[in-house]
């Protein structure tokens, strides 16, 4: 008898019989259907069938094993060929993670040592998507990014060929040869520069960790392993979460959209680990760790960090991306400002500067830390404010807002003494609105440069660190000219101007806190029209005339008010 021939009454009886059979089974009795069906012989066959099914499906009632960490080690997936695509010979396996192997290899065609990363085929959801991403990342060129030479396929294996960096990773250094804290901070600032560059290309790295920061033989930090990066506008939508969990930003764990600030969070974790020897969230249980990061409920920043760095680290590790540094460039600027501030701080009583004991804290026991703690007291308050050295403006993340809306033709000039020149650039005078260009005088690394409404121009002329230099940009009717100490060094396209936002001194724009100038300025002038056409000898200070609309110098400041020495009445505000 099959189910289709059973009456409702039969189904009712079968239900009762099965229940009885289960109760007896729970008492250890395996009762046959024939014994249960004395009163209903026509149901014996169907009951036997159902009992058999319940035996077969009994696995559904078994409890699940609790989660343990006793998984067997992940075996190596062998690379099928030792020479990929007939060109890249794999010589030595230098690293292996869950996602990929990294080999020291040899490019037989160009005869050079290379690094070859070979993702495990089973870990790639889409080889095509991975290859497309790798090709896009390969277009990122920056001194702080490990250069990708080639991508390709060999059978089921995709591979990425890149520069082979000798010297090991930051992770290796932290374990084997911990660097001085100043060095660590410089490296991390360099990585932030590289990240800023990648972000400008719309690439969020998504896997920032010490193992992906390489230190080359020239003691430079390079960012590698963009292999799982995805463009910012796609990140988080369908991406694998391959980054190491403890460095991931909360929004990454929550599957939300990622942006450059997610990398800032991860770099904050690296900064914390590099300076204190431990990550802010350290549970070994993935569930607990994920919860700690997502809820941000723990006190995350070590008290053994200096006040400056602690503040920067705390900001980077904010659960809410809007409360973090707005960009990697700002993160780098703040780190460099902290370094510069430390360098300018008076020596402590035993003749060592603050970093000395901070470095010691990384290495010694907590008792010593307790002793050293009181000396961590910061000289300045935070957030950074302008420290007034008599006669000059000092910049460390602060700026001067002017009441003068950008215009052209215009001449921008200043006497500057930079103490830090990040590769990603900084602005002497800017008027940028986020997402758009402005009219500004800037430095790209050490190279004098300018921004105009439709682009950037970078000269080959460099500005020295810690020396007073006069810099000027003349935005003319038909061209823009750059002057370094009065010498014409570059001519480029002219700009238009649309007003709408004021000029600011010391960063890229009034509403855009990026690319801050770090160092000193003696005086600043903004003039109508083209003040300079040929080479000239810069005056030591600026005097009013008909074309000057704004002149500031460090000798004329009243509280937060910067007094305009031209007749324009354009006093500025220290921010």
């Amino acid at each position: 008898m099959r189910r289709s021939t059973l009456t409702l009454k039969d189904e009712e009886i079968l239900g009762d019989l099965i229940q009885k059979w289960e109760e007896l089974r729970e008492m250890g009795q395996d009762t046959p259907a024939s014994e249960l069906c004395h009163a209903h012989p026509h149901l014996v066959q169907e009951l036997a069938r159902r009992i058999n099914i319940l035996n077969v499906t009994s696995w559904l009632d078994e409890p699940l094993e609790p989660v343990t960490n006793d998984d067997p080690p992940v075996p190596t997936t062998p690379v099928a060929s030792r020479t990929l695509a007939g060109r890249y010979r794999l010589d030595t396996l230098v690293a292996e993670g869950g996602f990929a192997q990294v080999w020291q290899g040899y490019d037989l065609e160009l005869q050079r040592v290379v690094a070859v990363k070979v993702p495990k085929p089973s870990r790639l959801l889409s080889a095509d998507a991975f290859m497309a991403e790798a090709r896009r990342v390969a277009r990122i060129k920056h001194p702080g990014v490990v250069q990708v030479f080639d991508v390709g396929r060999d059978g089921e294996h995709c591979f990425i060929v890149s520069e082979f960096v000798e010297g090991g990773s930051l992770g290796d250094h932290l374990v084997n040869n911990p660097p001085a804290p100043q060095q660590t901070i410089r490296w991390i600032a360099e990585i932030a520069d590289a990240l800023e560059h990648a972000h400008l290309y719309g690439v969020v790295h998504r896997d920032i960790k010490p193992a992906n920061i390489l230190i080359d033989s020239h003691n430079r930090a390079l960012l590698g392993d963009f292999g799982i990066a995805q463009s910012a506008n796609r990140a988080g939508k369908q991406a694998l979460s391959l980054g190491t969990l403890r460095y991931m930003a909360p929004e990454q764990l929550e599957g939300k959209d990622l942006d450059p600030r997610s990398d800032v969070f991860s770099l904050g974790v690296v900064l914390h680990e590099a300076l204190t020897g431990k990550v802010p969230y350290s549970s070994l249980q993935p569930n607990v760790l994920r919860r700690e990061i997502v809820t941000g409920v723990k006190q995350v920043v070590s008290p053994t960090m200096s006040d400056d760095i602690k503040r920067i680290c705390e900001k980077a590790l904010q659960r809410d991306p809007a409360k973090r540094q707005i960009s990697a460039a700002q993160f780098a600027s703040e780190l460099r400002a902290a370094l510069a501030s430390d360098a300018a701080a008076p020596a402590s009583t035993n003749g060592h500067k603050r970093w000395w004991w901070l470095g010691s804290l990384v290495l010694v026991a907590g008792a010593v830390a307790a002793f050293a703690m009181p000396r961590a007291k910061k000289v300045e308050s935070s957030p950074p404010v302008m420290k007034q050295t008599p006669g000059v403006f000092s910049f460390a993340g602060n700026y001067i807002e002017t009441p003068v809306d950008r215009f052209a033709p215009v001449t921008l000039e200043a006497w500057i003494n930079p103490t830090s020149l990040p590769p990603s650039g900084c602005f002497v005078i800017g008027s940028d609105i986020r997402g758009h260009n402005g009219v500004g005088l800037c430095l790209y690394g050490q190279q004098l440069a300018y921004e105009y409404l439709t682009g950037f121009e970078v000269s080959e002329s460099t500005v020295p660190l810690k020396e007073w230099t006069h810099v000027a940009a003349v935005f003319g009717e038909t061209e823009t000219r750059l002057y370094n100490n009065g010498k014409l060094v570059h001519t480029g396209p002219p700009t238009q101007s649309d007003g709408g936002t004021p000029f600011v001194v010391g960063r890229i724009g009034a509403t855009n806190p990026d690319l801050v100038f770090v160092g000193q300025m003696r005086c600043v002038r903004i003039s109508k029209g083209e003040r300079y056409r040929d080479d000239f000898t810069p005056a030591d200070s600026f005097t009013p005339d008909d074309s000057a609309v704004l002149i500031y110098d460090g000798k004329h400041v009243d509280g937060n008010r910067v007094i305009d020495l031209s007749s324009g009445g354009n006093d500025g505000t220290l921010r």
Partner: protein, 202 residues
Amino acid sequence: MPQESSTDTQIQNLIDVALAGNAEAHAALLDHASDRLLRLTRKMFHGYPSLRRWEQTDDVYQNAMVRLHRALANVRVESVRHFFNLATVQIRRELLDLAKHYFGPEGHGANHHTDEIPSDDAGGTIYDRAGRPSDPLGWCDFHAAVERLPEDEQEIVNLLFYEGLTHEEASRVLDTSVRTLKRRWASVKVKLHEALNLDAQR
């Protein structure tokens, strides 16, 4: 056993606190779901050591967790029953995706030797598809068959298999007697068996 220690009561307490705006309680609900996902993932690969290497708990598990979190993070959970329904739908979807990806015809596991030879409980030659899945497609079939059950029957599988509640806990969630629940559970298992074997014959 005191009521306070049962899973459904714990979950209800967490829901109450989460509804009051406590982020930790919400996170704890997600923890519960993620723990079930992890356990079920491991159950799915039990007996397949050669396949388990693809499903270690780091990246793939985190990927599934991200989607689970995204699906549950912005939902206002009103009751235990509501939560279990939401969570198990997501968990099953993840398991089905994993099984399809790694075990399907194009999956990486499809061409690998597995370590368990299918056998019929009665020693016969006909493979019973409702036994513990023991071939690459078995888990796909099982999760898909559950998806096709009527909603009320699916809910019973959700609570007893995917959520691992006891009969007593599940009966409280469904507001029914233990006796009725057991009866319905037996009926659902028979239906699942028939559905799986019908699929296999097609």
